[in-house]
Every structure is written in structure tokens, then in C-alpha cells.
């Protein structure tokens, strides 16, 4: 291993930039490497304090261990902060304990240690006067508290410590990033003058008025990230307002972020949200479908990602879902994750007129659904979306658990019930493959034909299919040869007139085993329009050409890259 020591040949500033990200113990121990390294670490401008207590302690020793680490941590932190030359611009504290009950022992020590709060002591150290980045993360690995009952996608963690930054003056702070803190006490506005650029809070709660004061005082605050955060407001009660939020007064949570270009909101509980962020370019939301109100338009909004978690009430969910999207009709890129595709299905002209809005600029749409309703309702949902997106170029549909309906929840892992179907399908493939390769001419084209989807029959026309949709990615689980996913493949192959590429992932089998055979069959049934041009078995790609009045277009079917 003893290659030339080229690392030590690097210039000081590069080595310091490297040491900037090294935990302080290892950073300090580089002074032992060689004379070259000496006290270089003191100039890295960062103090990264890391304390991970492993799970292999027995409960009795672990508790003792945590309180013993308290003192050692304090001493190390103090020594590291005191010995850094110049000013520390980055402070990171990363504490992980296996059990939330022990965190107090570590953070406060016992009586003999004078109950010094580790975090208070560290953040108020005089060496931090010119601090630019503050990262605090204190977590317990066993601490995911509520919400997990419903399903795996919701796991709100709550904070396990409290912290006050109220008395501190961080005049140079640019980034504040705090994880796992309850009742975070933020400084008065004047102590955070104007430099804050990013603010990240995770797994904890904060009083909204204090937070708003900090935001108001920071004209350059462009990036806000709230993940599993509970905003404490004056009107926090369990009976939130569930109707449509039409003005700020009706929102439970109202955030005003005039400079923000990027906002992430992962919020628990329900209740309306009002947001006033005219400069937003990207917005990400995860939580219940709930009333949302964008107070001022955000003309630069291009990328929006909405992840709606499960809510029992199907009708409320549907209404809230569509109304939520009304705020983002100008976006170019939209990602939607819904629990059940049925939440998108709006039947009836009147309801559609009320709930559906066009997305006149939307070029890329990604839709992920965890559960599928009946084929008919799924089709209505897809039709609703296609109707809303007249200039869509790139569509990705991930319909993951096509086999599981709500009634399967009792035991979703019981695969055996599908085994007969599966074997049946395999038989079909085998038969089809041999037919196709040995006796293609005579194969039965009218055998198990894939049926059209009622709501998506070709009589209906969608603007995007006629003129803009170039790329379709489909991911689904192949349950039968006539499952919704396969029907969609057929639908897009036959109806997307300017399609260039279709990528398919239908589980773990190779594409040419089934999908293209199907496409070829549909071609056969409809040969005036499309014909197979070339197949490449090595890449599993098939190329088709489509003859239209006056022009010929081509599209390729490929396996979807994972």
C-alpha cells in the first residue's frame, strides 16, 4: 500500500479543505502523521464533533457510558475549539445514541458534572463569533414515535432535546441546520443579521412566530427545508380547519418567505397551509392532502414535487389533491406521489370542471401510485392527467403495487395466492416465444388479446398524444398479460402519435420475453399505422415505424433503466 506520499504534497489550502470535513478527533490526530501535517488541522476552520454510541453496550453500562462520555465530549469540544487558529466557520455536532432515554445523560451529565448542557456549552463558545455554518444533529436510533402505525411511508420523528440559541449572536451565520430539537428557541431577529442563506429543521418543533422573525430578518434566505417539523402556532388544536383555504386567515400555518427560491415542507398533522413566497422556483411537499394556499403567485416555479400520504377519506383526499395542484398550474416539471391512484380519478363532467385545471406548461410528469384501484378508475385517473397536460413531452408512470388492492393489505407478502396466475403467465410466454421464433407467420394473433382500456379508448383524443408526448416510461408489476400496465403500453403504442421512446419495466423479466411480442401483435392487428422495423435482442430494444398521412415517425421500445 505504501505508494508515494502524494497527499502530503498537496498545497496547504487543499489539505485544510479536506480537514474541514474530518471529525475533530481524527483531524487533530493528523498532527501525528508527520511534520508536514503538524498543526495544519487547526487552520481548517471547522470543528466537527462526532459521538456515536453503539448499540452493543448493555443497558446498564450504556447509561453509565453516556454520562461518562458527557465529560470527555465537553473536554474535547473545548480543547478543539480553543486550539483552532483564527475563527471557526463551521461547527457540526453529530450525536447518535441507541436509546432516547440516555440522551439526557449524555447531554447533561450527572450532578457531579454540574449538569452542564453539552450543546449550550458548545454553541456559546467564544471561538464561534464568526461562525458561518451550524449543523446540530442529535438523534436516538429507536426514536420514531408516532404515525408509523399507518404505513411505512410515514415515519415522523420527534425531537429528543431542546436548545436555545436565543442569547447568541451569530452575525456571520449563513447556514443553520438542526435535527431532533424540540422547542427550538431562536434568537431575536436582530441577532441574525441578514446573512442567513439556508435554514434546515428536521424532526422537531418550533414556534412559528419565532421562526417567522428569523425569516423576516434574513433577506438572503433562499433555501428552506422543514422535514418532519411541527410548527407551534397559537391556534394549534386538533380540530383544524379542513375546508378550502382561500385566504391566509384560514390557514393553520402561514409562512412568509419573501426570498425563498427553494422550499421543502414535510409536515405532519392536517390543517391548511398558507405560503407567501413569490420567488419560489422549486417546491417539495410531503404530507396529507390538505388545503394549501399560495398567497402570491410564483412565476418562476418550475419544479414541484408533491407526495401525498395516506388519508382514509377518499373524497376529501381527491378534492384536496386536485385543489392542491391548482397552486402549481404553471410548472414545467411535476412529480406526484399518491397513495392510491383512485384519488386522481374524477368522474363526471361537473366535478371535472370544478377540480381539474390545465397545466399549460407542464413538460414532464412523474406519477407514482402505491395502490391501484380497478382498471376503470385507474384509467379515469390517467385520462384526467393526460387531459390536464396539453404539452406534455415526457411521462413517467410508476404503478408499483398493481396486484395489491386495499383488501390485500391483510397480508401483502403472501405471494402464493398469485402463484397460479404467475405460472399461467409463464406458460403463455413460453408458448408465445416459441411461436414467435419458430412459427411467427402462423402464430395465433387473436389468442389472448390485450383489451383496450375503456376510458382510454382511442376515440378519445388527448392533445399531448397528438402533438407533444415523445417519451413514456412505464413501471408496473406484471400480474397478467392483460393487466393495466400492459394495457397502458398498448394504449401509448397505438395512440401517442409523436412517440419516440417507450421504456418499460414490468418486473424482473426481460423485456423481449413478452412486451415486444405484444407490441408486435398489436402492430399486426393495426398494420396500416405502425410496423416493426428492427429488433435488437442484445439490447432488448425494438424499433417501430409509424406511417401517418404525410409523414413517417419512429419509436423505440426499451427496458426502463433502473
Amino acid at each position: 500500500m505504501a505508494a508515494d506520499d502524494r497527499l502530503s504534497d498537496l498545497p496547504d489550502d487543499l489539505l485544510c479543505r479536506i480537514l474541514h470535513f474530518v471529525p475533530v478527533r481524527e483531524a487533530a490526530s493528523t498532527s501525528l502523521l508527520s511534520r508536514r501535517w503538524g498543526s495544519l488541522w487547526r487552520s481548517s476552520g471547522a470543528v466537527n464533533l462526532v459521538e456515536h454510541v453503539n448499540n452493543d453496550e448493555t443497558p446498564e453500562t450504556a447509561e453509565l457510558f453516556c454520562s461518562r462520555r458527557h465529560g470527555a465530549f465537553l473536554r474535547a469540544a473545548d480543547a478543539a475549539l480553543a486550539s483552532s487558529c483564527g475563527h471557526v466557520t463551521r461547527l457540526a455536532v453529530d450525536v447518535e445514541v441507541p436509546n432516547g432515554c440516555w440522551i439526557g445523560k449524555f447531554l447533561n451529565g450527572d450532578e457531579t458534572a454540574g449538569n452542564t448542557d453539552v450543546l449550550d456549552a458548545v454553541v456559546s463558545h467564544p471561538a464561534l463569533r464568526r461562525l458561518e455554518e451550524l449543523h446540530l444533529r442529535v438523534v436516538a436510533s429507536d426514536h420514531s414515535v408516532y404515525g408509523s402505525l399507518m404505513e411505512e411511508e410515514v415515519r415522523w420523528n420527534i425531537g429528543i432535546y431542546s436548545l436555545s440559541l436565543a442569547s447568541l449572536t451569530f452575525e456571520t451565520l449563513r447556514a443553520l441546520d438542526i435535527t431532533g430539537c424540540n422547542m427550538l428557541d431562536l434568537p431575536a431577529a436582530c441577532a441574525f443579521p441578514r446573512r442567513l442563506e439556508t435554514l434546515t429543521l428536521r424532526h422537531g418543533d418550533v414556534e412559528l412566530t419565532r421562526l417567522q422573525r428569523v425569516i423576516d430578518a434574513s433577506p438572503g434566505l433562499t433555501t428552506l427545508h422543514f422535514e418532519s417539523v411541527f410548527f407551534i402556532t397559537d391556534n394549534n388544536s386538533d380540530d383544524h380547519y379542513h375546508g378550502e383555504v382561500v385566504d391566509a386567515g384560514q390557514a393553520c400555518v402561514h409562512l412568509r418567505c419573501p426570498a425563498a427560491t427553494s422550499l421543502v415542507l414535510e409536515l405532519d398533522r392536517s390543517g391548511g397551509i398558507g405560503i407567501d413566497s413569490p420567488k419560489l422556483c422549486s417546491f417539495r411537499y410531503k404530507g396529507l392532502p390538505r388545503p394549501l394556499y399560495l398567497k402570491s403567485p410564483a412565476p418562476d416555479m418550475t419544479v414541484v414535487s408533491l407526495h401525498f400520504i395516506h388519508q382514509m377519506e377518499e373524497d376529501t383526499t381527491r378534492v384536496n389533491f386536485w385543489r392542491f395542484t391548482h397552486n402549481f398550474t404553471d410548472v414545467k416539471i411535476l412529480k406526484l406521489v399518491v397513495h392510491n391512484l383512485v384519488h386522481l380519478a374524477v368522474a363526471g363532467k361537473a366535478s371535472r370542471a370544478e377540480l381539474l385545471r390545465a397545466f399549460p406548461n407542464l413538460e414532464r410528469l412523474l406519477l407514482e401510485a402505491l395502490e391501484m384501484p380497478t382498471v376503470k378508475k385507474s384509467a379515469v385517473a390517467i385520462a384526467n392527467l393526460l387531459r390536464c397536460c396539453p404539452v406534455l413531452r415526457d411521462l413517467t408512470l410508476k404503478l408499483i403495487r398493481t396486484r395489491w388492492t386495499a383488501s390485500d393489505w391483510s397480508n401483502p407478502y403472501d405471494k402464493s395466492r398469485f402463484q397460479p396466475d404467475f405460472d399461467n403467465s409463464i406458460d403463455h410466454f413460453k408458448r408465445r416465444t416459441s411461436n414467435a421464433s419458430l412459427n411467427n407467420e402462423n402464430s395465433d394473433r387473436h389468442g389472448d388479446e390485450v383489451s383496450d382500456i375503456p376510458a382510454l379508448s382511442r376515440r378519445r383524443s388527448f392533445t399531448c398524444l397528438q402533438s407533444s408526448l415523445r417519451k413514456v416510461n412505464l413501471k408496473f408489476e406484471l400480474s397478467t398479460l392483460d393487466c393495466f400496465g400492459v394495457q397502458l403500453v398498448k394504449f401509448f403504442a397505438q395512440n401517442a402519435m409523436v412517440l419516440e421512446e417507450m421504456c418499460i419495466d414490468s418486473g424482473n423479466r426481460k423485456l423481449h420475453d413478452h412486451m415486444n411480442l405484444n407490441v408486435e401483435r398489436w402492430v399486426g392487428a393495426d398494420s396500416t399505422k405502425i410496423s416493426l422495423k428492427r429488433k435488437n435482442f442484445a439490447e432488448s430494444s425494438w424499433e417501430f415505424s409509424r406511417v401517418l398521412p404525410g409523414s413517417t415517425t419512429r419509436f423505440t421500445v426499451l427496458p426502463l433503466e433502473r
Binding site: 479536506i18 470535513f21 475533530v24 490526530s29 508527520s34 501535517w37 462520555r69 419544479v303
Partner: protein, 173 residues
């Protein structure tokens, strides 16, 4: 992807660069723009058919850097979470290199002003140092210990707090 490829498609020009050992490489202008140095050269009309000479960057790291920039330029605008994650995966695989290549990338990315790559290489080096004793680090990086035992002991004493490793019973330096 539409927005990103369109942008790259509009300025369809390929930029040529030449490594210190005389090998030629090509990348889209959007990719070259990720390097501060190349961007300035392009703005000053120094990019011609002969290629921009990069006197301190050898062919091996330059090939990697062209790769990196091309990938990142294609995905720079309007990142969805998927794309951001894909790019992260790309980065993670990209930087799985031996220490020799890592030094080359550290120096070259710094010289060419490719900020993202520079950060990536710095972070990777920091990760390699993390969690190791000085002895292990010397071995990883081929660093020769030029201290006398007395000097070593003094340094240990001076930074005693740093050499108390987290496991009880206390295992001092």
C-alpha cells in the same frame, strides 16, 4: 429531461481540450462551462479547433473530468428528486477511485475550477481519513513518520483529548 437536453441542444457546440500529455478530448459547451477556467477561455474566444491546452492535467484524470462535467451538465437544470438522487449515485460511483487518481482529481478539479468535483474529491479524501488511527492513515496514504518517539509523545500529550477513543475501558494513545 426535456428542459435539460434542450438547453444543451441549443448551444450544441463541442469544446476541445488537450491534456498535458497531448491527448484530445471533446465535451459539450455546457459541460465545459462547469469549469471556471474553461468558461473564461470560451468567453474570451480561446476555444478553437486545436483545443484548449491544459498544461497540468494528464489524460487519465482529464478523461474522468470530461465524464463528470458531461453528466452533470446534462442534468443541471430543473432537477427532480430522482435526478438529484441519480446524480448522487453517479458521484458515489465516480469517486470510487484509487488514491493516485484521487490526488490527480483533487489537483485537476482545483486547477480547472470544477467546484462540484472539487468538493466531491475533498469529501472523499476526508471520508478516507475518518475513523482511522494515525498509523492506519499513514498506511493508506503512504505517509512516512518523521517524528522521533519523544516528539510523538509530546504531540500526544498536547492533544490528549483527541486520542481518547470512544470505547471504554479507556484506550489512550
Amino acid at each position: 429531461m426535456a428542459a435539460a437536453t434542450d438547453d444543451a441542444g441549443d448551444s450544441n457546440e463541442m469544446i476541445r481540450v488537450v491534456s498535458s500529455d497531448g491527448e484530445h478530448f471533446e465535451m459539450p459547451e455546457a459541460a465545459a462551462n462547469l469549469s471556471l477556467v474553461l468558461r473564461h477561455m470560451i468567453e474570451d474566444d480561446c476555444a478553437d479547433a486545436a483545443g484548449i491546452p491544459l498544461a497540468v492535467v494528464a489524460a487519465k484524470p482529464l478523461a474522468k473530468i470530461v465524464d463528470y462535467c458531461t453528466k452533470h451538465a446534462a442534468k443541471s437544470s430543473g432537477l427532480t428528486i430522482e435526478e438529484a438522487e441519480e446524480l448522487k449515485r453517479f458521484d458515489a460511483e465516480f469517486i470510487e477511485v484509487d488514491t493516485d487518481m484521487l490526488y490527480d482529481l483533487l489537483v485537476a478539479a482545483d486547477f480547472m475550477g470544477v467546484e462540484g468535483l472539487s468538493k466531491l474529491a475533498v469529501q472523499r479524501t476526508a471520508d478516507l481519513i475518518k475513523g482511522k488511527t494515525p498509523e492506519q492513515n499513514r498506511e493508506t496514504f503512504g505517509i512516512v513518520n518523521d517524528f522521533t518517539p519523544e516528539e510523538e509523545e509530546e504531540i500526544c500529550k498536547e492533544n490528549e483529548w483527541a486520542f481518547q477513543i470512544t470505547k471504554p475501558p479507556s484506550r489512550l494513545c
